[in-house]
Amino acid sequence: MKTKFIAALAASTALLAPMAMAEDMATDMTLVSWGGAYQKSQVNAYAVPYMDMHPDVKVVWDESSNEAVAKLRAMNEAGNVTWDLVDVVASDAIRLCDEGLAMEIDPDTDLAAAPDGTSAADDFGDLLVSDCFIPQIVYSTTFGYRTDLVGDTPPTKICDVFDLEAYPGKRALEKRPINNMEWALLCDGVAKDEVYDVLATPEGQEKALAKLDTIKDSVIWWSAGADTPQLLADGEVVMGSTYNGRLFSVIVEQKQPVAMLWDAQVFDLDGWIIPAGLPADRLARVKDFVMFATDTQRLADQAKYISYGPARDSSAPLVGKHADLGIDMAPHMPTDPNNATNTFLYNYEFWADYRDDIDAKFQAWLAK
């Protein structure tokens, strides 16, 4: 009699336990992202299926990733963090982690293992560039050019950007030193594996600026990722750098006469961070969501909507066709072997150190 009662009790607590856990999770979640096509891909690939599984959960999107670091710092100082999960580029994630504004995660307990059992830490591999960073996508900053404005020999090498004789006309470059300095040195004869050693010296910085000086009068400097696609579509520039996903939509979705120049594309990462100091119920909810949203299938699903490479090794074979256009997405990924013959990886450590210094020089040079 007594044992029966205990067994019943145990069974009922076993039933109750998951319910109690669900109750401990907040039902509202504020996700921060970049807006536009990228955010839409996240909504479709992560949030909609998650809400199908948990109909009581309400997801609010905030398009503030652009200024996430500053806003998180302000929220932290005010002691009222209203965001639950923030999409940032890796360099910002490193800074947020450095400032203690993002929570450290343990990939093996906080992230799902790959279907074949590979641990999350191995599946993401080197892309876990910070203790707080949960990678989602690999994107690249690369050049696109107007096929109708470059004559019969379209550019194939990064140094064609610096060749005003063969390709006259304006170029669009980002209004910051990162990437531009590397490309300039590369085209000034510096070997690829020595670029950062050279760039660390004042002479190397001068050298890079001197190379940029040769095209300075033909450059339109952009600060928003949407600028270059617009400038290309208007025919304002012959070629310009921007994120590969933006160029994809200009070429494939808007069918503009634009082509990709993948040479010396710079890989960068984008992913989630969880703000530090969330209350327990919100943290439980966001951890549950992250576990789901960064699993192998979800990351592969995202590639259906936008041409950014999934950050997990195990997701790559699952990348299929574009959700609306039905074209194969793999050849449009920056990580596709045909596109990735000559690539750069954003050097986070270098730029964390040299950003302030080189930026001051770069801005002074720009203003001259």
């Binding site: 670091v69 339109i220 964390a352």
Partner: protein
Amino acid sequence: MSDLKSTGPQAAAAPPPAGEPGGPVLAADGTPLKRSLNRALRRQKLRALMLIAPLLLFVLLTFIAPIADMLFRSVENQIVSETLPETVVVLHSWDSESGEAPAEPVFDAFYVDLFLAQEQKLHTRLGSRLNYEKTGMSSLFRKSGRRVGKFDTDIYTDQLIALDPSWKDPATWVAMMADSGDRAALPFTARTWDRWVAYLATEGDDPAKTKIEDVLFTTLYLDLRATNGSGASDARITQAAQAAAGFETVSLRDQFADADKNWMDPEVWGTIKAFSPRYTPGYFLNSVDMQKTPHGIETRPENQQIYMMLFKRTIFMSLVITLSCVMLGYPVAWILANLPTRTANLLMILVLLPFWTSLLVRTSAWKVMLQQQGVINDTLVWLGIVDDADRLVMINNQFGTIVAMTHILLPFMILPLYSVMQTIQPTYLRAAKSLGATNWTAFWRVYFPQSVPGIGAGSILVFILSIGYYITPEIVGGTTGTFISNRIAYHISSSLNWGLGAALGAILLAAVMLLYWAYDKVVGIDNVKLG
């Protein structure tokens, strides 16, 4: 206010007896009239104050306080002395001109500070702060933070525990650190212990149950060597003090040199020392193209000077924009003021319409108009005025900024001008003409002087708005048409150097106030009318 104050002493003095000849005039209730008047006035003023109190509080809380807080950041620099309290004190006696890295005691103190900082994840924050002043500090702190927990200081732990295994027990430390005699014998350990306990409290850990870290054994050893444990009541301390002389030691200076050779660079220590005070002029120096270095205040290298040029450009372009607004706005306002009301109201809508349109839309529209493949260039090429090969460059430069901002700010000029011109009697002009003035003389000598207050008001509005403008220069300014506010925005949202952003903002604020003061001196602020 002066009335309020003057009631004080009078109220305190006893009123003279009523009806006495030569006494003050009395009110109906027998109090002196002056006093009861004052009281009534005070009540009125209080009521007025209460009426505006919500707005006053609102402005104080949401406007003045944030601005004051932000301005305060331009000098605030507590992060260094709060993160490295021990180091800052010892470093004080080190001479940054010595050309050598500091001696052992600085590294002993720094070891403790850095260990506690990395436990609390504060070292990387300090690293980014110091990286604004010296390149490389960010990774130096991040890298050393990872290494500091693995220093060879565990030999002190091992040797002390070998001497008496009870050292391993955290509870004995709690008891020892509660004893004032022991604390006096081990001052460095006591200070470190207090910080350690404070940190554990934030983590919710019990110091009596948490493993004693190597860092505490290190400070214990250093204290034993320094004070010989004299005055301690714990017998273990006296025992250890005797044995400590024969301990195997480890140089923390070498440990740090091993972790990163940059710790042997006197410039690194010079920077820490130069920025160790709680308040620093460093940000302000940076914002006028100077810098605070270990060797005093220096001008920045020429290839990094940017802010003075941006300040000058901002003021110059704001003046140009203000002037173009006057030139374009004056005739418009004049026409509006002299048309019949119905037509004037209709035209007024045309002035106000862009005012109600989103700023971004208007700015982007100028992009479409001005760019090389834009409407204006296309038209000029079609008309054959401009050759297709060299289309005009009208955007992403100063010209683009001036055109777009003049258009955006024009209503701020037209509206005050219009309302002032409406009050000018047309009869004055007619009178002037009937007295023989030409059209020009009548306008210049009679009409124009009366419209000056409107120009003044419009100019102040337009100038102050444009000096702090940010989004339009960002979009159409390219590299030569951007303002100082674009750099402020960069430092606030991108580089996170809020101190520098605050200093630049403070200078901008001061410049505006100075110009306002000069304007008041020259033109007189009484001559400004908004309507």
